[in-house]
């Protein structure tokens, strides 16, 4: 009996279908990532303003001017500090939560749903909620502390009725880092949960048979196995946070003084609000070499861990 011939069909061509499947992702990268990136490089080396978009080449003048700006150096340092501190907490919380959410317990799906909300909620909307909670005068957190007798005359935390979450330099920085951790932890957790779920059960069964207890299994088997995925989660989180301006734009606009001003916000203030588009672009591009080096290092680390 001969084989049934369906004739040639273009989508049977593996090369063609491969290219077709890749096209949306490539278009996305080229149009929404690549083009703006190239444009910002062109802006950074030009004298462009919000009113004049002629790209006259000025060499490294903008980058040198930005580097000599004391405010920029403080902003750059703040951005790195906020990112690193946040990542430590995100990593700790994400690991704990990923382990919890991969266990079986009643209401697990509901708990997962609630937990993912900070990440799924539009960031500006979520920040308005936090702005209300951390308001300098009408903070609901302060109200609670006041009711508990921790604030107000003779209060344990302060004699004042408010802690001034977004006005006191230390508290404003803590608030911004806390909100970033709150926002980014769900994504890292979901990635780690995927990693934990992908560990072959025979390895875990073998460990159990060999008498390995929970902590030993976690520290010596699970975490080493998901290390490459953990690095990817960290990379996502770091890059997102490094470039973010929404959180501080809504909460503090960089204040008090410059304590919470980060690179994305300063770039926007100089480039768009201040009209100096060329310097705004140069400010944002300072993040690129650092992020690139970090990405290469972390991906190599992940790759090595995978090979082992």
């Amino acid at each position: 009996m001969g084989r049934l011939s369906l004739g040639s069909f273009p989508l049977d061509n593996r090369r063609l279908i491969g290219a077709l499947f890749l096209t949306p992702a490539l278009l996305y990268i080229v149009l929404l990532v690549g083009f703006p990136f190239i444009l910002s490089i062109a802006f950074g080396f030009s004298d462009v303003t919000v009113g004049n978009t002629d790209l006259s080449f000025v060499g490294f003048r903008n980058f040198l001017a930005v580097w000599e700006n004391d405010i920029f150096r403080q902003v750059f340092e703040t951005t790195i500090r906020f990112t690193l501190i946040s990542q430590v907490f995100i990593l700790i919380f994400a690991n704990i939560l990923a382990v919890i959410f991969t266990q079986d317990f009643t209401g697990k799906w509901f708990a997962r749903f609630i937990f993912i909300l900070p990440w799924a909620t539009p960031v500006s909307l979520a920040m308005i909620g936090w702005l209300w909670m951390l308001d300098t005068k009408y903070s609901s957190i302060d109200y609670l502390l006041l009711q508990l007798g921790l604030l107000g005359r003779g209060g344990l935390l302060s004699d004042n009725r408010n802690l001034f979450w977004l006005a006191a330099p230390d508290l404003a920085q803590i608030s911004v880092i806390f909100v970033q951790v709150w926002r980014m932890t769900p994504l890292a957790t979901v990635i780690l949960m995927a990693g934990l779920s992908s560990i072959p059960t025979d390895i875990l069964d073998q460990a159990e048979v060999d008498g390995s207890r929970f902590m030993r299994t976690l520290l010596q088997i699970k975490l080493p196995l998901i290390l490459p995925i953990m690095v990817i989660a960290l990379l996502f989180s770091m890059i997102t946070m490094f470039g973010d301006m929404t959180v501080v734009y809504v909460l503090t606009r960089g204040g008090p003084v410059d304590y919470t001003r980060v690179l994305g916000l300063y770039s926007f203030q100089v480039g768009i609000e201040g009209g100096n588009l060329a310097q705004g672009a140069a400010i944002s591009l300072f993040a690129f070499p650092l992020l690139l080096a970090m990405a290469i290092f972390m991906l190599r680390t992940a790759s090595r861990a995978e090979v082992r």
Binding site: A65, N69, I71, K137, F164, A167, R253, G255, G274, N276
Partner: protein, 440 residues
Amino acid sequence: MKGMIRILLVFCIFGTLVFGMSAQDTEISLLQWSHFVPRYDEWFDAYAAEWGAENGIGVTVDHVNFTELFSTLAAEIDAGDGHSIVEVLFSPASFIDGLHDLRDINEAAAEMYGERASTCEAASYLPVTDTWYAFAHGYVPDPGDYDIALWTEAGYPNGPRTYDDLLEGGRAIYETAGIPVGIGMSPELDSRMATRAAIWSFGGSIQDENENVVLNSDETIAAVKYLAQLQNEAMTDEVFGWTAASNNQGLIAGELSYILNSNSAYRSLQKIDAAAAANIGFTPALEGPAGAYASSHVWQIYVIPNYVEGAELAAAKQFILDHTASYSDATYHSELYNFPCYASAVPELDGWLEADPWGSEPPNKFEVLKTVNDWSVHLGFPGVTNPAVSQVFAESIIPNMVAQVALGEMNAEDAVAQAHERIEEIFNEWRARGLVGGGE
């Protein structure tokens, strides 16, 4: 007769521009903020539609939050396409290369209505390029709002009139009633205005008349020391986290004894609690050692981007001039928030300030605003508002300088010197582009 001449003048200016265009095919679009007074937007949208119907021109009005105006204008200029008219609230001097020179309608308006308020001229004309890059139709006074009962108790029944009054009275009220003064010192609009007002009134400024940076002066240092003392003795740390809503919230809650604000905080209170609103009084700019100055709160400034051409351009200009002719309605429906750049366009204004048509008690509550043109200045005072002044404003250099001293992190001399250095850098960059004068 004079009226006839005005009408003839408008006709002559626009006759040639409008000639040949097919009015029925012409459409214009406007982008402007969602006004703090909703009643104004209701009036404006109806006015624009009516104007379009009368002139056979399609008119679309889009309202956005005021924080989005500059970013949208930048995107539209870059794209070479967008709204015919954009209304911004601060001088758009840094956009100058992407905007039409509106000398013709500025001159036509001056011809029709006479002298314009200096705060408006400085926010729409750049002398170094001799360009009218915008048409300012209105501005918003920024008087002091004070709690009458508290200040009367402290011995100032007419509220503070000098910076000394503010310190002494404000401190006494804070010590006895626990209610602080509310002058923002954070990176936001109200703080940028309030800190500048004190510096000007002490005789300091960011630049001189010739656009040279002169911030680092004994006068500025004295103003910064004063503000730090005011914060330490009459205010709480909340002013370091001030937002655009803080004035309004504090005044409405009765938790601030004095603020600098437009009439919006008071109008909100009027709608919520008429008795509490009756307890709010207004002061002109406070007198300092060198005079009494306060920045206008915002400006209503129309620009037409370069991509607008032909019949659309002519219609846009016609709309702007006709809107100015209707400024009595604009001021009225904004509940006296919008003040006219051309005083003669609103002949009823003095009467409204003597007897508020929106029911203030007492009716002459806003009478102090009759002198507004004597003390309301602009961001670049005593020079013009050039692109460098706008960038200094955007970076919040001045309130941050003051906050550093009030927080005890720097002494006034070092903070002013540091701010001066950064401002000098900004001025030099814009001067190299030919958009800032001075520098010799």
